[in-house]
Symmetry: C2
Subunit: 389 residues, 2 copies
């Protein structure tokens, strides 16, 4: 199976990071953990460091490295000669600078942090091509597309990203306005972090995935379609120029796309990964998505088409809006309103530098927060911010 | 797109042959017809010869070749230096000797005539390997598997052949006994020849496809599973060692697998091929097959596992039984009984020569006919031959 891959995991205490560690535990002949970073859950990070004794680690506080581990910055870590493969499992803009550092050092990067490509797709893709290294997707949808493209000599005609539709796909507009954070955190299929779970319920997550697919597969926006597929068994599909489609299917389990990125171009046996049981997966349903009902989806795709700093502003405004929703400050449908109003006020910069992207992010956070405060200052607060469509 | 492929079609007046000619008409820059054979429908064959003016042709009677076409034997035709690619679209054992001749001449063979591999899989696969040439599948299921295997470095773990289930999948045993040839010739999805339509209704066709898959992909019988999928959109699936599956989908249209065999390893645009519409294909259902209800399926797979001359005897007995059913001599459920009784009386020869295979075919035809005659001689005819399971 080739030599052992030496892995760095950025964001090891999050959902993807923990599942990547599960795989490293299960596949000791193929994978070796050499570097770890974590941030929010220091207790778990300490346990991980004790268990794996990585050669390098990075965290916001000094941890016990009496076993001989080296404390480094993330950028030093990902470009270290003893790292082959970097799993970017952080969230939001945190992955941006380390991903660039890893690409510049010629490392293979497996990307679960979708904001990296959404905010700075052009820069990231350019760096990867400059240093002749690969960006491998870890999202289940993009992994599906990537698997379906293997061995195909011609560019496909259409990509179909599937979406479970989240828990509220059949809710009416008034019902959506009443959704609580507690309800929204119960995703019907996937167990994920809080931010991505809310993004899944608003379909913002699917919108960000459209942008990610655009950059990963250099595919035009108009040829990327979304299908609601409640069972989350078909993870995405590709249509070729002869009308043939390929789909990738599995029981929903994030360890599969993580392992595929690690084993590519091979596959590895792993009895811990679930098998699809056709007695259970006996009905697969698909319907074209309703863009009107979930405005976040359209906002994201439009930001992608506009390009420049719009996608960075979108991500930042969404992150603030989701936080405000989770702390019961705004309603579920207000998330889209805040993002929409922020983008409406944004002064776009086309072909931005990394600094300009980060400045757009800062600006959008402030703008989104101000929009929310303004709203609360008003003497009579309407039931929600009033979405304009 | 590379140089023009020079095509020979064996069986040009049948369903697959006519669709292959549709493709040659639609793709004149890629494909050129150089040789034709037909047998039963001479009027159509004459029209085809007038239209395409092939350099060579073969038929049971002398046809007009005043345009300069050469009348050759099928074996001379398929090994002619001006032929690159042979489409074997004949039925039954007719394809056996021409396929071997084509392989020995190093031609690429696209196989729609599944009995060739079912009857003589070992010999055919051996010849292909000896002459370093390829056998490409034209069946939609095998084309699907082949498409899904592209670019994969590791052997898959399971193949899932899909089956529409035919028109009678939910019939009771007494209802099945009453099925008429007219009802059985109405296939819900595919428009095909009469023999294969009846084989689809008995699921014998799916059984033969299991044997075909075994030889085409050198895959063990116990890892080939059958899923009833009434919509015939997913044409088959492959499961890999990590639990990931790939499926190939399309609107049911035989021109797609024919074109893929011709365009492989590329794909060609062809606006005449239908596109899948997700507003129509909105529900895909799957269930494991009921082997007890359709004994032909189990008979076929068991004959494949036993090997030797059993598969040839199976094909021949089935061909006779289907003819007897179509001429209202036996009931629908008698088809399985005749095949079963023929196989029960068969003296198997393992690792048979081509002659021994053809002798088994002859013997089984006689045996099946005798079984039917014996049945009619009995003073009191039961409602059917009495299937034993």
């Amino acid at each position: 199976m080739g030599r052992v891959k030496r892995i760095a995991i950025l964001g090891s205490t999050g959902s993807i990071g923990r599942q990547a560690l599960d795989l490293i535990r299960a596949l000791p002949d193929e994978l070796k953990l050499v570097a770890l970073t974590g941030d929010k859950n220091l207790e778990l990070l300490e346990r991980q460091i004790r268990e794996f004794q990585p050669k390098m680690f990075c965290s916001s506080v000094k941890l016990d490295n009496s076993y001989g581990g080296e404390f480094l910055s993330v950028e030093e870590m990902v470009s270290h000669p003893e790292v082959d493969f970097v799993i970017v499992a952080t969230a939001g803009k945190a992955g941006l600078s380390p991903t660039l550092a890893a690409l510049k050092a010629g490392k293979t990067v497996a990307l679960a942090n979708k904001e990296v490509l959404v905010m700075a797709g052009e820069i990231i893709v350019h760096e990867a091509s400059l240093h002749q290294t690969q960006i491998l997707p870890i999202d289940s949808e993009h992994s599906a597309i990537w698997q379906c493209l293997q061995g195909e000599e011609n560019k496909p005609q259409r990509l179909f990203l599937t979406a479970s539709g989240g828990p509220f796909y059949h809710y009416s507009q008034p019902q959506l306005a009443e959704v609580t954070p507690e309800q929204a955190l119960q995703h019907p299929v996937w167990k994920m972090g809080r931010k991505v779970t809310i993004d899944s319920a608003t379909l913002m997550n699917k919108g960000l995935e459209v942008l990610e697919a655009h950059w990963l597969f250099s595919f035009p926006f108009d040829s990327i379609e979304i299908l609601i597929h409640p069972q989350s068994i078909v993870h995405s599909m590709v249509e070729f120029m002869d009308g043939s489609l390929k789909a990738q299917l599995s029981w929903p389990d994030m360890r599969l796309p993580i392992q595929y990125a690690l084993s590519y171009p091979q596959r590895w046996p792993n009895p811990e990964l679930p098998r699809l049981d056709w007695n259970k997966a006996n009905s697969l349903n698909f319907e074209p998505v309703d863009y009107d009902k979930f405005p976040c989806l359209k906002l994201a795709v439009d930001a992608g088409k506009s390009g420049g700093t719009y996608p960075a502003a979108l991500c930042a405004a969404d992150e603030m809006a989701v936080e405000l929703f989770l702390s019961h400050k705004i309603s579920f449908t207000d998330i889209a309103t805040i993002v929409q109003k922020t983008l409406g006020q944004h002064q776009n910069i086309s072909q931005p530098s990394l600094e300009e992207i980060l400045a757009a992010d800062d600006w959008a956070r402030e703008c989104a927060t101000r929009l929310c405060l303004d709203h609360y200052k008003q003497p009579e607060r309407p039931s929600n911010l009033g979405i304009e469509r």
